[in-house]
């Protein structure tokens, strides 16, 4: 009986403001830990999501432990904490996870030693350097257009033991070809942060994200990547270990993306709540057919959590 009710819920997510009193109570009691995405949930590019902070404050008030998990390493931790403070949320840096930091934690856990060849943004590289890792990058300029020059740029003898790929506005074919050369060595690891195919960087600008390029490297080297951005399994394992989560179903993943956030939550065995304040519309949610991308619950935004818990603004703005 219970199993069948879960199945029904999985195929048709419920809006959290349409839960019965009993459902509402059992939902609120069903999790201790909340993992939440940031972009598209608290703010969407330049625009703030109205009353988003109220949702998190309500969760904290009823004793839920909050952790933010973003795929955005371009923003520094400081900038992120300041932006949270601006909307009235006091968040500590250790409550925020982004791929640069997850990769640092992963490398420290496996006691990684050696040189890293990295394709990523400056802030991302800074996080790894500060953690004491030795990085190699480039070519950071256009190369002379010949095979001789290509050879000079991609055949490095440096003892690289890991290749790291995340968002790089200057990602180029020589960088990918060079990464592939290092990955031909059996001991060289492939670590990937964000896996987006198309990445929104500002209001009108998208860029092809690191996902397809990581796939090129996986295909050419035959090495499955260790993915430490959402929806990567290795990121999930890292978080579960870090927070000593013994019962994954007692964690709730909140996010605005079907594949990245809901998919990530499902990979980890967390409950999932999709918010429609960012990259996914109600129509897209209703059209989703992949059962691993269908959330347990949905809401217009995290502000609905405050309403559901009987707090915050009464009228829905």
């Amino acid at each position: 009986m219970e199993a069948s009710s879960i199945t029904t819920r999985r195929t048709k997510p419920k809006h959290i403001l349409q839960l019965s009193e009993e459902e509402r109570r059992s939902f609120c009691d069903s999790f201790d830990h909340v993992f939440s995405d940031i972009d598209g949930v608290l703010w969407a590019l330049e625009n703030l999501v109205p009353h988003a902070a109220d949702g998190y404050k309500a969760l904290e008030r009823i004793g839920k432990q909050l952790t933010f998990v973003t795929n955005n390493s371009v923003r520094t931790m400081d900038q992120c904490v300041r932006r949270f403070a601006k909307i009235g949320l006091q968040v500590k840096p250790e409550q925020i996870w982004h791929p640069a930091q997850s990769i640092v934690e992963y490398l420290q856990r496996i006691k990684f030693e050696g040189l890293i060849y990295i394709i990523a943004s400056q802030p991302f590289k800074a996080v790894l350097r500060e953690a004491g890792f030795q990085l190699l990058d480039g070519p950071n300029e256009f190369i002379e257009e010949s095979y001789e020059s290509l050879a000079r740029h991609i055949f490095g003898r440096e003892p690289v033991r890991a290749v790291v790929v995340d968002v790089d506005f200057n990602l180029s074919s020589p960088k990918i070809l060079r990464a592939h050369m290092y990955l031909r060595r059996p001991e060289c690891l492939l670590l990937v942060g964000a896996t987006d195919r198309l990445l929104p960087v500002s209001k009108e600008v998208n860029i092809i994200g690191p996902g397809p390029f990581a796939s090129i490297l996986e295909e050419a080297s035959g090495k499955p990547p260790l993915t430490l951005g959402k929806p990567g399994r290795q990121l999930g394992e890292l978080l579960v270990q870090h927070y000593a989560i013994s019962q994954p179903s007692r964690a709730l993943m909140i996010g605005d993306m079907l594949a990245q956030d809901v998919g990530f939550g499902r990979v980890c065995g967390f409950q999932t709540l999709l918010v429609l304040s960012g990259g996914c519309t109600l129509e897209q949610l209703q059209a989703e057919t992949n059962p691993n991308h269908i959330p347990d619950y949905y809401a217009d935004s995290v502000a609905d959590l405050a309403l559901m818990l009987g707090e915050g603004p009464k009228a829905h703005v």
């Binding site: 950071n140 300029e141 256009f142 190369i143 002379e144 257009e145 010949s146 095979y147 020059s149 290509l150 050879a151 991609i154 055949f155 790089d168 506005f169 200057n170 990602l171 180029s172 074919s173 020589p174 990918i176 070809l177 592939h180 050369m181 031909r184 195919r197 198309l198 960087v201 500002s202 009108e204 600008v205 998208n206 860029i207 092809i208 397809p212 390029f213 090129i216 295909e219 050419a220």
Partner: protein
């Protein structure tokens, strides 16, 4: 082991049957005639002369547009003492140029390829757009300029671009949102033999754009379907089973040629090792009919 016949091991009458079984030869260049971008492989000049002596027509099908047609012809003359006509050489810059002429194309082209490739199109009278914005992107403004700064184009062409970047691919993606914008691809190798092993070829990068825009390019380099059709139409009088395709790549040459029903000869002077062939299960679409250590094996023991 699959049933590949080694040219050296053919008996005299089998060799004669082999030569009688084809009229036309499609022959790759890099890794077959010469080492990639370098000198002739010993024996290959004699082999080409032998094919001519046997009355075979030879057409060179290469994915290399970095050497111009003139450079190809000079290399054949100087190193191989062979007189080769321009019409005997098929390479992506030329096939794309011919295609654009055949449809009387007149618009602006965004061409992600090497300077010689771009030069060939410009000399044929086509207009190419230049990169917009600074080369290296330091800000969102730079990125915006690189993606949206240039003029709209009527065709996107992708071949080997030594400085292909995510921003250029995004500019191509944006232009290709216009369904009228042509999408053409040249060399589409997944891997290219280079140095001591393979490097990633243009194919996977073309695939990224293909997937992001959701439509297929017209691919006029190996192993493109459109080049395959074009080669079939070049010699309508020669049945495919009377064509011998010679190459060094299982994917870009042998698999490509077998899809057309050609006979195939794999040479081991390029990117493929004997183990790679032996690893293929019988019936695999990339198993060649014949195998040779080098093209020179064509001449037989007495001629080498």
């Amino acid at each position: 082991m699959n049933s590949v016949k080694h040219l050296k091991e053919l008996r005299e009458e089998e060799r004669e049957e082999f030569f009688d079984s084809f009229n036309l030869v499609f022959c790759d260049c890099d890794g077959v005639i010469w080492y990639p971008l370098r000198d002739f492989i010993p024996g290959s000049a004699a082999a080409l002369a032998h094919l001519e002596f046997r009355g075979k027509q030879v057409t060179f099908v290469t994915n290399n547009s970095i050497s111009s047609m003139k450079e190809h012809i000079e290399k054949f003359a100087q190193q191989g003492h062979l007189k080769i006509d321009a019409h005997q050489i098929v390479h992506p810059a030329q096939t794309i140029c011919d295609h654009l002429k055949s449809i009387k194309f007149e618009g602006l082209i965004y061409c992600l390829a090497t300077p010689p490739f771009r030069q060939l199109l410009k000399e044929a009278g086509f207009r190419l757009t230049e990169e917009s914005g600074p080369g290296i992107i330091r800000s969102l403004k730079d990125l915006h300029e690189a993606i949206y700064g240039g003029e709209p184009v009527a065709a996107v062409v992708i071949d080997v671009d030594f400085n292909l970047s995510a921003a250029k691919m995004m500019r191509a993606h944006v232009q290709l949102q216009n369904p009228k914008c042509l999408f053409l691809a040249g060399a589409a190798d997944a891997l290219i033999p280079f140095g001591q092993g393979d490097i990633i070829g243009p194919g996977p990068f073309i695939d990224v754009v293909t997937q992001s825009v959701g439509r297929q390019p017209i691919t006029l380099g190996k192993p493109g379907e459109d080049l395959r059709q074009l080669l079939l139409q070049r010699h309508p009088d020669v049945p495919p089973n009377r064509v011998l395709f010679v190459g060094d790549s299982l994917a870009s040459d042998i698999g490509f040629a077998r899809a057309s029903g050609y006979q195939t000869l794999l040479v081991l002077t390029g990117g493929t090792r004997l183990e790679d062939v032996q690893r293929l299960p019988a019936g695999h679409p990339q198993v060649p009919d014949y195998l040779a250590d080098c093209l020179g094996d064509i001449c037989g023991a007495d001629n080498r």
